[in-house]
């Protein structure tokens, strides 16, 4: 199936694509200073059930810091984070090296945080297409395999909110498209809110309901089309970045080269 940009019909939305109603997690006027350096300034953000919000921004823009604030791992210097009561969170951090000194198979890795039967472990691994890995030691997994396993681990606690930090970092281009299709499917099936962090713009935007572009502060936000054509976005990522996004929408008409460039079978105006 293709990554398409579908608003769930039952969710009412404002013109910027924001759902109306209570958020799963929201940050209000968030500021973060670390070691005398201002990392984030006056950031407002909210993630609602059933939507995929993508956080984009250049390196050092504070994307991961913002996610860590929303997750409650660190405390903001100013502003506040509000989480829906009883909210369960699944978190896939940026690619990390698995310590081979800890003997740990995939099944056990999934149940570190929650207790679950083997059938439940199998079914969640099935969902991400990694059930054959259940008895493999995690230190032996490839980048793409490990990413899927981490996703399964985040899902096993039945989270209301998924936070995925650069989930496609260790994955090749084709694998990346697959992964985003998978994420879109998970959202559809589980109705959870998803906060996605990425700098791989062209693939991510297609799967998002709402894009927030940050660089220490919120530069622009809205539905993917409006962000892609926003002057702030062009300033941060270069003028051609928006074009690549537009092209991805009709990806049946073109092929991707190995370097990730897009070959088109038709003209653009």
């Amino acid at each position: 199936m293709s990554v398409s940009h579908i608003h769930s019909p039952e969710t009412e939305r404002t013109a910027q694509g924001k759902p109306v109603g209570a958020a799963l997690v929201s940050g209000h006027g968030l500021g973060l200073t670390f070691g005398g350096r201002q990392i984030l300034e006056n950031v407002d953000i909210a993630v609602h059930a059933g939507e995929i919000v993508t956080l984009i921004g250049p390196n050092g823009a504070g994307k991961t810091s913002l996610a860590r604030l929303l997750l409650g791992i660190i405390k903001p210097t100013s502003g506040e984070v509000i989480r829906a009561p009883g909210l369960r969170v699944g978190y896939v951090p940026q690619r990390f090296p698995v310590d081979p000194t800890i003997p740990l198979d995939v099944g056990r890795f999934l149940t570190l945080g929650v207790r679950a039967r083997r059938t439940a472990v199998k079914s969640v691994l099935q969902e991400v297409g990694a059930v054959h890995l259940i008895d493999q030691q995690i230190a032996t997994l490839s980048g793409g395999e490990f990413q899927r396993v981490c996703l399964a681990r985040a899902l096993i606690g039945m989270p209301g909110l998924l936070v995925l930090d650069e989930p496609a970092q260790a994955v090749d281009y084709a694998g990346e498209i697959h992964l985003y299709e998978l994420i879109a499917e998970i959202r559809k099936r589980r109705r959870c809110g998803i906060l996605l962090i990425s700098h791989n713009l062209h693939v991510v935007l297609g799967a998002s309901d709402r894009v927030i572009c940050i660089s220490g502060h919120v530069c622009c936000e809205g539905v993917p089309e409006s962000v892609a054509s926003h002057p702030e976005y062009a300033r941060l990522f270069g003028r051609d970045a928006g074009k690549a996004v537009a092209v991805y929408r009709h990806h049946h008409d073109h092929e991707h080269t190995l370097s990730g460039e897009v070959k088109c079978g038709h003209d653009h105006d």
């Binding site: 791992i73 951090p93 081979p100 000194t101 800890i102 003997p103 890795f109 945080g113």
Partner: protein
């Protein structure tokens, strides 16, 4: 007919072996060998404190070890110096202060060698009581902390996002380490205690597929080493602590080929 002192030594050794094995796994996984070393080096200062206050020397060691752990927990946030440098400074300062204080306070009465290298054959019934209370207390706490500790060892932030109170769990583990090291000093001594933590765990890594297997394997290696080491000590009239550590090292050396053959190692 087994002599009383030998029975006490055996029981103390087995108690310590089982106590240190699971802690040792986390020492290996979280790279805390240097921390263990520092706590151990403070032991002598605890002995001096015990003499000074005329209290049970084990209590003195526990007080100083726990104080060091608290100091380290408080300094965890600083980034100006690497953790191992800081630990090294504290360890050697404490060892130097402990050596001076123990010599001056204890004089000829104090068996300095006994504290540096351990004297398991001199374990008293009171020491045995301490060790088994420790086994119950620390063992129970480890069972309770096992899952969150494991989650933190794999990925601290992921654990934090899932609701593990990372700082509290870390602090609790450091206190357990301090307590365990304090209890073990009498047996293998300040200079060899870290061996008891890391060598059995390292040897068990070669054959373990799960964290629990590694902990149980480490306990097995440890128990075997205590029995064989004590036997060796009796046979050759050798000091017990070094004998036990040497047997452990031999077992580890025997496991090395398997360690190297592991997939993904």
């Amino acid at each position: 007919m087994i002599d009383d002192f030998l029975l006490r030594a055996g029981l103390a050794g087995l108690g310590i072996a089982i106590l240190t094995a699971p802690l040792g796994c986390f020492v290996v996984w979280q790279r805390l060998a240097m921390f263990g070393n520092s706590v151990a080096h403070c032991g002598l200062l605890g002995v001096a404190l015990g003499i000074l206050l005329s209290i049970d020397l084990t209590v003195g060691v526990i007080i100083v070890s726990v104080a060091l752990a608290a100091l380290l927990i408080a300094m965890q946030g600083q980034k100006a110096l690497p953790q191992d440098t800081l630990l090294g400074i504290l360890a050697h300062a404490a060892l130097a202060a402990g050596l001076l204080a123990a010599t001056m306070l204890g004089g000829a009465r104090l068996d300095l060698m006994g504290y540096l290298f351990g004297d398991i054959l001199a374990v008293s019934t009171a020491d045995l009581v301490w060790i088994f209370l420790g086994l119950i207390g620390v063992g129970g706490a480890m069972l309770w902390l096992w899952r969150p500790l494991l989650a933190i060892s794999v990925h601290e932030e992921m654990a934090a996002a899932e609701g593990v109170r990372v700082m509290a769990v870390r602090a609790a583990f450091m206190l357990l380490m301090a307590f365990t090291v304090a209890l073990s000093i009498k047996m293998v001594g300040i200079l060899l205690i870290v061996a008891l933590l890391i060598i059995p765990a390292a040897a068990a890594r070669a054959f373990a597929a799960t964290p629990e297997q590694m902990a149980i394997g480490a306990a097995g290696v440890s128990v075997l080493s205590v029995i064989a080491g004590l036997g060796m000590s009796l046979q050759f009239d050798a000091p017990a602590g070094p004998s036990i550590v040497l047997v452990m090292s031999a077992l580890f050396a025997a496991a090395v080929p398997w360690l190297l053959l592991r997939k993904g190692a």
